[in-house]
Symmetry: C2
């Protein structure tokens, strides 16, 4: 039910994912409305529907997770908890999806904080950046865990055994940065983190250069970097277009290049490459861009299928257990662990800031 | 002596600033080498020279401020302390210039931490962003002070009585952000900050939209945003160029647009708009881009002249005193204040992390 073009385009994309790509789907939302759409594709009865009374509005933030306990996202999370679904795809409000799924699915064992991983349009293969905004304040140990989350995700998405991981920072040398990144660099460089191919600090101008496979940063800086990139691309292409259509010679030139420029703009369009995956919960959440049309939803369903088939949650658990930070996670965010009883349940997801 | 093209281009730019723009200058560095260059412009004896035995190398970082107490930057700072100069211009290593001038000039009274202000190429007038990297970890009160520093700088640079100030954040609503920005938003929105025209949160995609005159952020996020912008522009224009020169029709189009595209690239070239001003010390420091040629140095000298004439240091003191944070500064970073004697000298600049 979420997204600017819901439910029409969402259902069209889901039908395509089911028919052409063999993705097993359940549609969650207003049953009557969904059935009506499915009729257009002669797909009634072929894709199961689970009814949900409510849906989050696109402008609803984190509080919606409390206000609407029967939202389509909440119900979809419930299906995951029951083992009736392996992953969730939504084009709804990012804040609402993140808050609801954190509340319903909880953080997976050993993981301190979840992160949203997005892909940047680098060549020849995309670069993964995390966190794009799920956790604004991150401790050094949390950054090390993001490296583990990114490694697990990169293995499945990029098909690499050991994706390289860079730490987003304000200088290339080890001593650079704020307190959190200085310490995270020490932790990542030192021994004890198996399976993470740490490539050192990278800077803002490296984000689109493809220098590393995975870029790790806190959700505050990551979100700012990502939106700065989007705004800069919009401004730059806007200026290029203006330049190309001012004056007769330039206008003629523009006609000769129209198609190529459009391809280029599409590659950098967040609606095309956009969306993200929320990592670190007891379930896989693919957050498609709010502006998603059918094609983007089909891709999101395929990605969710691929991540579930690649056992992303288990892979993250194994990867995090190989870092020196697993003990932090157990005490702050994970499932209750009997050895931690004396400390109590220090940080259930829903109480985090 | 600092910069990729020192001393030739530096001196050429300085001579131009002195002759054509009436900027009163002292050249600090290797006296014999400087005199040799001045001969080319028939300017020996017209611009005073102060000899300095050493110079910071371009790849030297903050430690150089200790290793080279007689560097040209250190000597220039000494001239400011003696009242023989009002401002300093350098194209040397940013880390070296910042560390040396913090050590020699100290933070000005009331200011907790210094910030580097840069200008972004927005239209119709530039946008000021601070901090671009002087202080990586900033407390909420420090962000409020950066708003005061940026306001004072904006008044002189943009000629506005009340430049609007935005807080760089990860959402437009007041409750968004990390701990520091949430609290800074409260402080900036509440009463008690006179003279700061606070316009609320802005996001990464607003940086080039010209929505506010001054953007305030910590040096970590600011540096990442700035470098992300530079890298994105380089990538985008690189791709546009490639697109425009692949295929015969496109190549013909490119010929018709060559001049306009070059103008556009120049506007976004950090070597053209680059450089920054270090605010919050007992003296004005203009840090020109390392790649600066004569024209950029002339502009930097004019800017330094304008800031000194506009009494930037006094203006910052007055502006900071009007915020609720002036008491923080007195205890942590400023000149010794007799009423603070019992607390001792808690935070001289050189001991800060």
């Amino acid at each position: 039910m979420g997204g600017d073009h819901a439910p029409e385009e969402i259902i069209a994309g889901a039908v395509e994912a089911s028919r052409e790509h063999g993705v097993g789907l359940v549609l969650v939302g207003q049953a009557a409305r969904i059935r009506q759409e499915l009729e257009r594709y002669d797909a009634v009865g072929k894709i199961p529907i689970v009814h949900a009374d409510e849906a989050l509005d696109m402008d609803e933030g984190a509080l919606a997770s409390w206000r609407k306990p029967r939202s389509s996202i909440a119900i979809a999370c419930h299906l995951i908890k029951q083992g009736r679904a392996s992953a969730l795809v939504s084009a709804g409000s990012t804040a609402g999806v993140v808050a609801t799924s954190r509340l319903r699915l909880k953080g997976q064992q050993g993981v301190m904080r979840p992160a949203i991983a997005v892909t940047l349009p680098t060549r020849p293969r995309p670069t993964i950046l995390l966190d794009a905004g799920a956790t604004a304040d991150v401790k050094p140990e949390g950054l090390v865990q993001f490296a583990a989350l990114g490694t697990a995700y990169g293995q499945i998405l990029l098909g690499l055994d050991r994706p390289t991981v860079g730490l987003l920072n304000i200088g290339a040398e080890p001593g650079k940065g704020n307190k959190a990144t200085k310490r995270a660099h020490e932790l990542l460089s030192g021994g004890g983190n198996h399976g993470i191919e740490f490539a050192g600090n990278i800077e803002g101008h490296d984000l689109l250069s493809g220098r590393v496979d995975v870029v790790v940063t806190d959700g505050f800086s990551g979100n700012i970097a990502l939106k700065t990139m989007e705004g800069t691309i919009r401004t730059a292409f806007g200026e290029v277009r203006e330049t190309m259509t001012t004056g007769t010679a330039a206008r003629m030139g523009a006609l000769l290049q129209r198609r190529r420029m459009r391809d280029l703009r599409d590659r950098f369009d967040p609606d095309t490459y956009g969306g993200g995956v929320l990592l670190g919960l007891n379930g896989t959440i693919v957050i498609a861009h709010g502006a998603s049309r059918a094609r983007a939803i089909t891709s999101a369903c395929e990605l969710a299928h691929r991540l579930a088939a690649g056992r992303i949650v288990e892979r993250i658990r194994e990867q995090v257990a190989l870092t020196r930070t697993s003990r932090f996670g157990r005490r702050t965010h994970g499932e209750r662990d009997s050895t931690d009883e004396p400390l109590g349940d220090l940080g259930p997801v829903q109480k985090q800031p």
